[in-house]
Amino acid sequence: MKLSSNPAIKFEAAVVDYSDFRLGPISLEFKSNLACIVGRSGSGKSTLLSLASGVRPPTSGKVFHVEKNMSSLSERTRSLLRISLISFAGQHPIFPEEETIGNHLTFVSKLRHAENKEVKTLLERFGLFDKDNKYPYELSGGELSRINVLRALIGRTQFVILDEPTAMLDRENADRTIEIIIAETIKRKLIIATHDELLIQHAKEFIELSDGKVFLKRNIDVS
């Protein structure tokens, strides 16, 4: 599949309708390497990220990933595109119960054609190198949350989409996680929903949502 040389995720009047909530219409394009989405709980951040990650389609409007409209693709093509293009970490970490963390991360690395040593490196960077033989139920919520972020960073996907990656972390671990996230922005584009001020400070794009609409969008020029 031929992809754009300048990959971007673009929304065109994208709308998501729930019975009691409506997101959009939203038209915007994520161009920078670190876009932070902020807003109060229930403002539609997670829904926007699920659209951006291709986890769900818009009810109406279009979402383009590197100029491809996912809704128009077959399931197989869409799956291949998402695996190669996007990694997503939801707000609530989910792990297979009967697999060790190491095995699961190996599975993810294979899925994204990454080398297993990358998993080891990431585990070390996150200070979790001794957790690869643990089962999810043996880990704390904070550890799982960090592994959730770590999992999204495996491979060379062009977009990393994180939903409140530091919400469950203490300050020290949050800072370490943010440091790793910022380092990743050199190589790829990150879209993050967050309330973390420190993370927001590093954002190149700032999008504030309110009641399902873009309340404020600001590009931060750091040149």
Binding site: S53, S71, R78, S79, A89, Y137
Partner: protein
Amino acid sequence: MKQNNKWKISNLIIAAVLIPSMLLTFSIGFGASCRRAIHEYFLMGMPEDAVIVSKSLLAFGPLNFSSSPLPPNISDEIRKMSGIKNIAIEESLLLPAQVNGSIFGRAYGSDVAVIGLDSSSVKWLSPELSDDEFVDTNPLPVVVPELILEAYNNSFAEPNGLPRLSKSAFLGRRFQLVAGASSLNVSENGSIVVEAELVGFTKRRDVFGLIVPRKFIQRVHDTMKVQNREQRIFVFYRTPADGRRIAESLKSQGLSVNAPWERLKSMEGFDITFGIFSSLLALLFGILSMVSSFFAAAAGIFSKKNESKLYHQLGLSRFSIVKLLIKKLIFSEVIGAVAGSIIGILILASSEYFPILHVLNLIPTTYEILFGAVTGAIVPAAAGICGAFAGGISIIPPWRSRAE
């Protein structure tokens, strides 16, 4: 709160598949052996080569003891002397009927018929031997079965007409009385009439023997005493009709034959009823195993709803997610099905140690055990895979769903 739920789902599936698999294996194996036993020993509806109808054993026949050293291994000895390789020494079966002291049974797998009685019979037949001699005396007087060789050389002209000896009902009794076939003749209808005489006894387990339940021994003895017969005739026949003809022929010669044909006929209804019952039992367990396995797998998959969400987030297609989850569950399914079948096999195999089942020839054959085991493993596993697909379809929302 951390909790150890590592094998929660797997345990559920394994348990749900294991127990029905075990029951299915057992019911099929045991049901089949029940049917076979009924067919063979009550209806004589025998698919194999021949049946020994020794129902006249107690009515006729001398028991002439001779003396000679006990061969170290009588089966090898027989092979060596006769040059016959196909002697199923451990594969005989002679089942005593419980009516009128008659004894009959089926035999196949061997070229030579050798009939034995258990130690109680021996003791009665040879009252001069004390209990100690039965247990400890070795060698005991026994005739090396030249008679067998002779009978083979003289009478087994038709390889296809040879009597066959079947699975042993031999239980390792202390002593086995060995009877050699003294003459074998092929009758006009193709059946083989064997005149046999007792040639000795041995305590070797590898000599196939006739199991006479102890509770019937006295009846057997009484019958023989009353009839005071000196000749025994074993009749091998291929079909019940042949057996009937032979019995009539013997009767016409003035011999007393306890022909249980009428009784056997009355057993047909029982056989059909029992056959249907055993089939229904197997069917019931089959359905139970399928239902249980299906829902266990479906529930197992459904419990992985969150995991499917994860794989969806990772970008996998619905088909890939279902495939992945099913792959994981198949492991549990296979463990459950195989373990269940193994337990079923063990239960069936343990029937070997219940003497009454030997007497009734209800020991499943290897074929029956394997058939039960394979069915007991495949049926639940197949149902489980279907259940997993059904569960998978129910938890993977279409990409266009709003409820995602």
